[in-house]
């Protein structure tokens, strides 16, 4: 039976914005989220400040959540997940596992907003010792610390003197298979570098990179302020090994600008881990029968001018479920997906 509901899978930024947009257009959204709160990864991972304008994540995400909670056009189902799916565009039937047991919902269109997961540094090709050394942390660990308004060397609890970031961890790597760029890590690292310099003015902060991905306004809003105002040191050359030396960490890389091997002691090393498809993205892709690209993200047909399309009519994608995305991307895609979903439903109803 044709339905006018838009089923949105995932309650992170993309899903929230999609739900709000659908409701704003006068449509009906069913928002399904597996956790017991909305907010997605920025909430689960306790992000501190968003790279975008350094706005506190909690506040920004809170705004997105607030726009949807209690909205008459949005039915929110928490602690729920997709377990079955059938039908065609305009007339889908989804089976959900909910706290009240299995539920069937009808939908005219679906938006996949199941997002990403952070790369696990244990699979990294280089020897970073994340599972050996407490002072080797990821961007996510750092973000959690920054949220508490402090930044310390984890093993000692003291303020660090030397901190470095290593870019492209789990991205741009043919050995792991993630041959893409995760897009946001250069920006996030630069942002965190600035925050650390602000919190610990005596700390020297380095970023070891292959290329600095500073798209558009990130260049003048993040990159130059980091270098010029906050004296963050960008060194071109990726670290290959991290080992313990005395009570500090020894990192080993090549300073390619100077053309020689380098070994430097650090107190804290932050791995700029990339994005991979989340377990939810993989599961949902399989259940919906939409094509995934070779990395496991939802495939947007190549060369399509519809960046939210999937291989199945009536099913759209928004945010990092389709590949590395920053917040802007997620918000934009969410709006576009909502638009197309509602338009498709109305065309079908009009016939």
């Amino acid at each position: 039976m044709p339905s006018d509901a838009v089923l949105i899978l995932g309650g992170g930024p993309a899903g929230l914005e999609a739900a709000r947009s659908v409701a704003d257009l006068g449509g009906r959204a069913i928002l399904v989220e597996q956790r017991d709160t909305l907010g997605g990864t920025p909430d689960a991972a306790q992000y501190a400040a968003l790279t975008h304008g350094m706005r506190p994540a909690e506040e920004a995400i809170g705004e997105l959540v607030g726009a949807v909670t209690g909205h008459p056009g949005v039915e929110v189902r928490l602690r729920s997940g997709l377990i079955g799916f059938g039908g065609g565009a305009g007339d889908f039937t989804a089976t959900l596992a909910t706290p009240e047991g299995e539920r069937q919902v009808q939908a005219g269109a679906v938006i996949v907003a199941t997002g990403f997961q952070h790369f696990d540094p244990g699979r990294e090709t280089q020897m970073y010792g994340y599972y050996e050394f407490e002072d080797v942390i990821t961007l996510v660990d750092a973000e959690r610390m920054l949220k508490t308004g402090t930044f310390v060397t984890p093993s000692t609890g003291q303020a660090p003197e030397r901190v470095c970031f290593i870019q492209c961890v789990g991205s741009r790597d043919r050995q792991i298979g993630n041959e893409y760029c995760s897009k946001v890590c250069c920006g996030i690292s630069s942002k965190q570098a600035i925050e650390i310099r602000q919190l610990v003015p005596r700390a020297k902060v380095f970023i070891f990179y292959i290329d600095m991905r500073m798209y558009g306004y990130w260049e003048n809003e993040l990159y130059w302020p980091a270098q010029e105002q906050h004296k963050v040191q960008y060194i071109r050359g990726i670290v290959t090994e991290i080992l313990r030396k005395g009570d500090r960490l020894l990192i080993r890389g090549e300073d390619t600008t100077m053309g020689r091997p380098m070994e430097v002691l650090m107190d804290v090393v932050i791995l700029a881990v990339g994005m991979e498809p989340s377990a939810g993205t993989r599961t949902v892709a399989r259940l919906l029968g939409v094509r995934q690209n070779k990395y496991g993200f939802i495939e947007v047909p190549h060369g399509s001018l519809v960046p939210v399309a999937t291989s199945a009519p009536g099913i759209f994608v928004a945010g990092a479920a389709a590949g590395p995305a920053d917040l802007n991307d997620s918000m934009s895609m969410a709006g576009a997906a909502a638009l197309r979903a509602v338009a498709a439903i109305r065309r079908a109803t009009a016939r």
Partner: protein, 231 residues
């Protein structure tokens, strides 16, 4: 045309450099060893030779990727013998194999009898002789104080007691002094045949004619006895 401003081998004809370059590229393994390079420097960071010499696996990969014929020629003359073939550079995130590229470049240098290759392998010929003729790279009787004075007093002690010490080894195959273990003569014949059939003897001829003649002497008779006509 050379991208470099300084061309150290300007007097060498371009065709010679190009021919060597094409030979390297034509090796069947080349496509497995070189993809793109984003100059991350991991290979240099991991490389032991980079710490001791002015050697850079990154520059090797880059020169070949850029098809910089003149620079590759410089490297094949000056740099490739510094690589210690440890393959730490296989950490490359693009799966390049700079050590493998060096291997191909070395084979090319040897096949073409480049003087730099001959120089690099000077003093090494008795080892080539040992491996080619006995099927073992080193032998107990090579441990002598005059050959390895820098290994300390054990070199002298070992040399003095070699015969007895080799007999004082429980494994029956190790009672040898001129080869590392007792290799069956039939096995050696098979090895010689492999060297002949794969063109290795021709490579040795380019590098060291004297060595080549000695080896041929040792091998030819055994091969003909065993019924493998060599010429």
């Amino acid at each position: 045309m050379a991208l470099a401003v300084l061309d150290r081998y300007a007097e060498v004809p371009w065709e010679d450099k190009e021919r060597l370059f094409e030979e390297i590229k034509a090796d069947p393994r080349f496509a497995d060893y070189l993809y793109g390079c984003y100059e991350c420097g991991i290979c240099v960071a991991a490389c032991p030779s980079a710490r001791f010499y002015d050697f850079s696996p990154r520059r090797i990969a880059q020169a070949l990727a850029r098809e910089d014929v003149a620079l590759v020629y410089e490297q094949i003359q000056d740099d490739i013998w510094e690589c210690s073939q440890c393959f730490s550079c296989l950490r490359c995130p693009r799966k390049n194999n700079p050590g493998g590229l060096v291997t191909i470049m070395r084979e090319t240098a040897v096949r073409n009898g480049l003087r730099s290759a001959k120089q690099a392998l000077e003093g090494y010929s008795r080892i080539i002789y040992k491996i080619m003729s006995t099927g073992t790279q080193v032998s107990p009787d090579m441990i002598r104080a005059d050959a390895f004075p820098d290994w300390g007093p054990t070199a002298q002690e070992t040399g003095d007691n070699l015969e007895v010490w080799r007999k004082a080894l429980p494994p029956e195959t190790l009672h040898t002094t001129s080869m590392s273990w007792d290799v069956d003569p039939k096995t050696l014949t098979e090895l010689y045949l492999i060297w002949h059939l794969t063109g290795v003897m021709d490579m040795i001829k380019e590098i060291d004619e004297g060595l080549h003649m000695i080896l041929l002497d040792v091998m030819e008779e055994k091969l003909e006895d065993a019924g493998y006509p060599v010429s």
